[in-house]
């Protein structure tokens, strides 16, 4: 028997690590991976609560999140490839043409 709080705490830690990755890494690919990590962290919380309250809804949400993540990765990677083709690197800091 493990307290659900542990799972939640783990989820929070993983989420923070993901957030840190998004903020600090300049490689677009790794930024993406970090995002995936954050999604995973959220999923973990979902499933843990689903177990706690004995309902399937949490699992179903996790399932949807996985589906959306797949879609997101498909588009995201396509964009990365595009960006690479036009700039010949994957530095996220190079893509700042929207600056004010």
């Amino acid at each position: 028997m493990v307290s659900v709080n542990y799972y939640v705490a783990l989820s929070a830690i993983l989420f923070s690590i993901g957030a840190l990755g998004v903020l600090s890494r300049r490689n677009t690919l790794i930024v993406f991976m970090s995002i995936e990590l954050m999604l995973n962290a959220a999923n973990l919380a979902f499933v843990a609560y689903a177990r706690t309250y004995d309902t399937f809804s949490g699992q179903i949400f996790a399932f949807f999140v996985i589906a959306i993540a797949a879609a997101e990765v498909a588009i995201g990677l396509a964009l990365v490839v595009e960006i690479y083709k036009s700039r010949n690197n994957v530095n996220i800091d190079d893509v700042n043409s929207l600056h004010g």
């Binding site: 903020l23 300049r26 930024v31 800091d93 700042n96 043409s97 600056h99 004010g100």
Partner: protein
Amino acid sequence: MHLSETMNSGFYYLAPLLVFAPLVGLLINGFFGKYLSEKVVGAIASLASGTTFLVAVLLAHSTALNHGQVVQVPFAAWIHAGGLQLDWTFRVDTLSTTMMLVVSGVGTLIHIYAIGYMHEDVRFKHDEARFSRFFVFLNLFILSMMILVSGDSYLMLFVGWEGVGLCSFLLIGFWYELDLLSLPSWSNSNAAKKAFITSRIGDVGFLIAMFLTFWHFGSLQFDAAFQAAPSVAQVSPGAITAITLFMLLGVAGKSAQIPLYVWLPDAMAGPTPVSALIHAATMVTAGIYLIARSAPVYSLVPQAQYIVALVGAATALFAATIAVGQYDIKKVLAYSTISQLGFMVAAVGSGAFVAGMFHLITHAFFKALLFLSAGSVILGIERGHHTHAHHAEPKGKKKKEEHAEVFDPGDMRNMGGLRKTMPTTFWVYVVGTLALAGIVPFSGFWSKDEILLETSLHYPLIYWLLTAAAFFTAFYMGRQIWLVFFGEPRSDAAKHSQESPPVMTIPLIVLAALSLLGGALNLPFSGFHNLTHWLSSTISGVESLPFNWGVAGMSTLLAVLALVVSWFLYGRNPLKEKQIDPLKKPLGWAFTGMENKWFVDELYRAVVIGPYERLAAFLADAVDWKFWHDFVHDTLIVGGFNGLTKTLLDRNVDQRGIDAFFNSWGAFAEWLSANLRKAQNGFIRTYALATLLGVVLILGYLILK
């Protein structure tokens, strides 16, 4: 009596053929005419017209067998709206069969004549493809005319009435791109338009007469209307007077009476067979038929009758004077026709319905004869003109110039001495002239005499007007004979003129025989009142007057005198080339007036046409477009709206008030954003950082709350 009772005792069931025979003819020629030879086209058209004549004969025969019974032959339903219940019904009675016989008989002869005439005409005018079209129109005319005379209601009569107007329009404008001298011009089509529109003015009268008839008599069907007439006459005599006078306007339009006669002389722009058939023998007499048909109504209002007679008599004299001053062979005949129609209108106006119809018939014979002969003369001159041009000047270049020179084959001043070159035409022309002038025993004498006799008994003024007109008639016909056929040729064309082919002369001879003998229809001796007797079963109350030596002697004397005077002026010393008319000097301004048709056309142009055109242009340009369209709509409404919106609301209220207020906010936002934009460095990571900062702060807030 209705059809079912008489079906077995006659040919009434053939009545629809009156209309369908020409219809078949015109459809065949209309669709396939261009693939058929001229002879076939002419034969089909003549056959169609001939069938109509045959049917008319059979119908007349049946009517005679049935002692003049009126028979209605229903054909199809027509307009059934509210109280207006009208059918396509043919009416076969003595009056209508008389008209059918005249129209289809003369019509058929003219069809045959036209085969020869048009053969040459289309060649002189360089459009042979138009040959079949002519016969289509001619058949259409016979068709419309048959509807006119066989209709059982005013409305059906009106269908034919307007139908013949259409044919008249189409045929006057047959050479629509030319004028009388065969030069490119709007003149012929203008004449066609004039004819139609002038008749339409009369038609409005007819229409209003029909409206009045319907609302007062309750029906447009002849029998029903006539039955109601006497009782209405007692309640509201004014209505009947109005009906008759409005109808007179219609008659004036169609039968070329004052004041609407002006279209008929111009109508001579049509090919000569058309002038003969439509503008002399048949269509123009429709008005007389209408009045004769409406005899039961006219008999109720003597004052209106007097007005009708007066109009007729005035027209007779007025037109006769103009005819004296004309040089064109067809124009003389045209004015003569107007004048003779005046005689007929005067006759039916003064209650002499039979006399009017009698003159209508004889006039159809001799005037058709005269016109056709005139056509023969004109073609003879044309032929002479062409042969002369070809023979005398063999060189091509010269020939062209000769052709290009304006030559009027209808001008009597270009003729003279034709009795030698065109003997047949000459003799039939003389017969026609004597008939028209009213010389015993030609048909014209008997019919005209009857009119004079009738009027002399009741209306002396009318009698004297007509007598004077008769004098002029004989005079201008004499003048024409001397000018055209006697003396020496006044042009090379006349010198080389040639006689027409038999296809043209044979109908002339037949018509000449009819003109000579036509009087036998109704001789003023007891036992010979055939026409009176015949028509009495349709028109009640007609009586035949005994022969009156005084009236007959007077008119004959005047006619002979007129012919003698014309011989003194034109026959004794034949006109020379380029010589002015010998009447010009003694008559002075009066002859100028005759020459110029008393300036009536100019008067109408100044009083009616010009002002209407100016009014229309004024309404269209100034009122409707400049004022209503441009000024009111575009300037006032649109401009006003623009003024309100753009100047007042937009510039002052909106821009300086509301806009300015809100623009200040905009300016503030602009200033703010100009500073804030520095935060937008474009680095995604920074934005994410900001987002995270937000998350952290919100969470922190939640925790500390």
